[in-house]
């Protein structure tokens, strides 16, 4: 099981935008953490830094005992990536190819391309891919084109691809933001149960407070690149979360309102 250690992590983009300001975070093995925050709060930057698609510009970041900033060889980077299963908002399947082929691509971290090519892949690997599809309830469309599916179905296939990767930790970046509420809940149920079965650490970035309270064990609220809230779900107040989505001006107004209430 993977854990995450961050101390004073900063990310400044070349244009000067300070996306993460000295973040200190520890996520233990097997935890189910939800990261909340409004647009521009730094949650996507955090996701990209944790998955090694962006370099941090300061501080220390360690995931599963590995420090992405220290990678020198391609091999180190690909081994690191292979261990972290990603789920994206827009699924990111390869168009023009079949569902089965997309799932087989999940094995690219441990097999060369010619071995995961659907027509010539070994029966063992094809069977593993079919099992992954069965796990997400999509085995009946294995031969269909990836473009023929609905949003929810595409996300299931993307999850099957991730299962194929045999990850040690799952990170999801707004996995249900493009789905209707029913499909969204189904996807969250699926992700949480996969993490429970395999005892995986699960970090998801979400937009919806209700979903966060329902599926998270711990909620981290980001605001302008800083941690504003970090609490276990049982101890959290809905009003605290609402503050996350307020602009600084609104926050000040709310504060003044409070002063009036107290008769100051």
């Amino acid at each position: 099981m993977f854990s995450v250690t961050m101390s004073e992590v900063t990310k400044v983009y070349p244009n000067g935008t300070e996306a993460l300001k000295a973040l200190d975070l520890n996520i233990g093995p097997g935890e189910h953490v939800v990261i909340l925050g409004h647009n521009g709060s730094g949650k996507s930057t955090l996701f990209r830094c944790m998955t090694d698609f962006e370099n941090i510009t300061g501080g220390y970041l360690e995931i599963g005992g590995k420090v992405p900033a220290s990678f020198k060889k391609r091999k180190e980077r690909s081994t690191f990536r292979r261990n972290i299963g990603l789920v994206f908002q827009h699924y990111h399947l390869t168009h023009n190819l079949s569902v089965l082929q997309n799932v087989l691509f999940g094995a690219l971290g441990r097999q060369p391309f010619r071995k995961v090519c659907a027509p010539i892949a070994s029966s063992t690997l094809r069977l593993e891919a079919m099992n992954a599809l069965e796990r997400v309830g999509m085995e009946s469309v294995a031969g269909n084109g990836a473009d023929e599916l609905s949003g929810g179905q595409k996300q299931r296939v993307a999850i099957a691809r991730m299962i194929m990767q045999r990850p040690r930790m799952i990170m999801a970046d707004e996995p249900i933001a493009s789905l209707d509420p029913k499909a969204g809940k189904e996807i969250m149920d699926l992700l949480v149960s996969i993490c429970r079965e395999n005892q995986l650490t699960f970090i998801s970035i979400l937009h919806q407070m209700d979903i966060a309270l329902e599926y998270g064990e711990r909620i981290i609220g980001l605001n302008q690149g800083e941690v504003l809230i970090d609490k276990g779900v049982p101890h959290i107040q809905r009003s605290e979360l609402q503050k996350l989505y307020m602009s600084p001006k609104e926050q000040k107004a709310k504060w003044n309102e409070g002063l009036v209430e107290y008769g100051v």
């Binding site: 990536r81 990603l86 399947l93 390869t94 691509f105 690219l108 995961v116 090519c117 993307a158």
Partner: protein
């Protein structure tokens, strides 16, 4: 209130005057005269009178030569397309192994584009001799210049998501190229390649004029021998074949891209 007229900048004035001078000098060199214009119309009339009705006597020879032109275009394009893919991958910003290699590959593609195909044909006729082979090589060079550029542009403008998704599985670069970049580009690659075939057919006709095989040779001979009726038959044949190829290509493109 702004002035009614604003004087353009000195640079604009100089460029405009310079351009005008070049144009007037050029016009002077064209030896345009009403006399030649008139006799030209008369000669054109001779051609038209001589060309009708088109002479079908050597139709079979022309057909064989046209088929050869088609073959030159097809084989040259296929080779060109297959060579364009690796060159485009080397040239594109997001797939090149090293920026320097990227610049070299881009430079190579633009070199192929800048040299006109007739010059390639002349070079190849000198180096490999007359016939369809130098024609095919010329079309191949032309196609690499054309497809190399468009393939590489398509690869550079690709959405990052699906590529990152494959990278995130821990795949090596080969897996990323075959698992996301090439499949994502296929509809566009097919479209570009079909345009390349159309372009190649028109190009291959002209190549015959410098001895690089196909119907161009026959047409050139017929014209110099003033056998205008035979020439017209060939021109019509070229027209028909070009139109057929264009129609087929449009049909395939529509069908393929509609399914993509």
């Amino acid at each position: 209130m702004p002035k009614r007229f604003k004087l353009p900048s000195p640079a604009t004035i100089i460029i405009t005057i310079g351009g005008l001078i070049l144009f007037i000098l050029g016009l002077g060199s064209m030896e345009i005269s009403a006399d030649r214009f008139f006799s030209g119309i008369v000669n054109m009339f001779h051609f038209i009178i001589g060309a009708f009705p088109p002479d079908l006597e050597r139709f079979q020879t022309a057909l064989v030569a046209m088929y050869e032109t088609f073959q030159i275009a097809l084989v040259g394009t296929v080779f060109g397309v297959f060579l364009s893919l690796p060159i485009a991958l080397l040239a594109s910003r997001n797939t090149t192994p090293h920026p320097v290699i990227g610049y070299v590959a881009k430079g190579f593609i633009s070199l192929l584009r800048t040299v006109p195909d007739l010059i390639w044909a002349l070079i190849f006729v000198i180096s490999v001799g007359l016939g369809p082979f130098p024609g095919m090589l010329t079309i191949m060079m032309d196609t690499i210049g054309f497809c190399g550029r468009f393939f590489s542009e398509r690869i550079e403008e690709m959405e990052k998501g699906p590529i990152e998704a494959v990278q995130s599985t821990g795949s090596n670069q080969t897996g990323v190229i075959f698992g996301s970049i090439l499949p994502l580009g296929v509809p566009s690659f097919v479209g570009t390649s079909l345009f390349a075939v159309e372009k190649a057919i028109r190009g291959a006709v002209v190549l015959g004029l410098v001895g690089a095989g196909g119907i161009g040779v026959e047409l050139s001979v017929a014209m110099t021998m003033r056998q205008f009726d035979e020439a017209l038959m060939m021109i019509l044949l070229i027209l028909v074949v070009v139109i057929i190829v264009e129609q087929c290509s449009t049909y395939i493109r529509k069908k393929f891209i509609a399914n993509a």
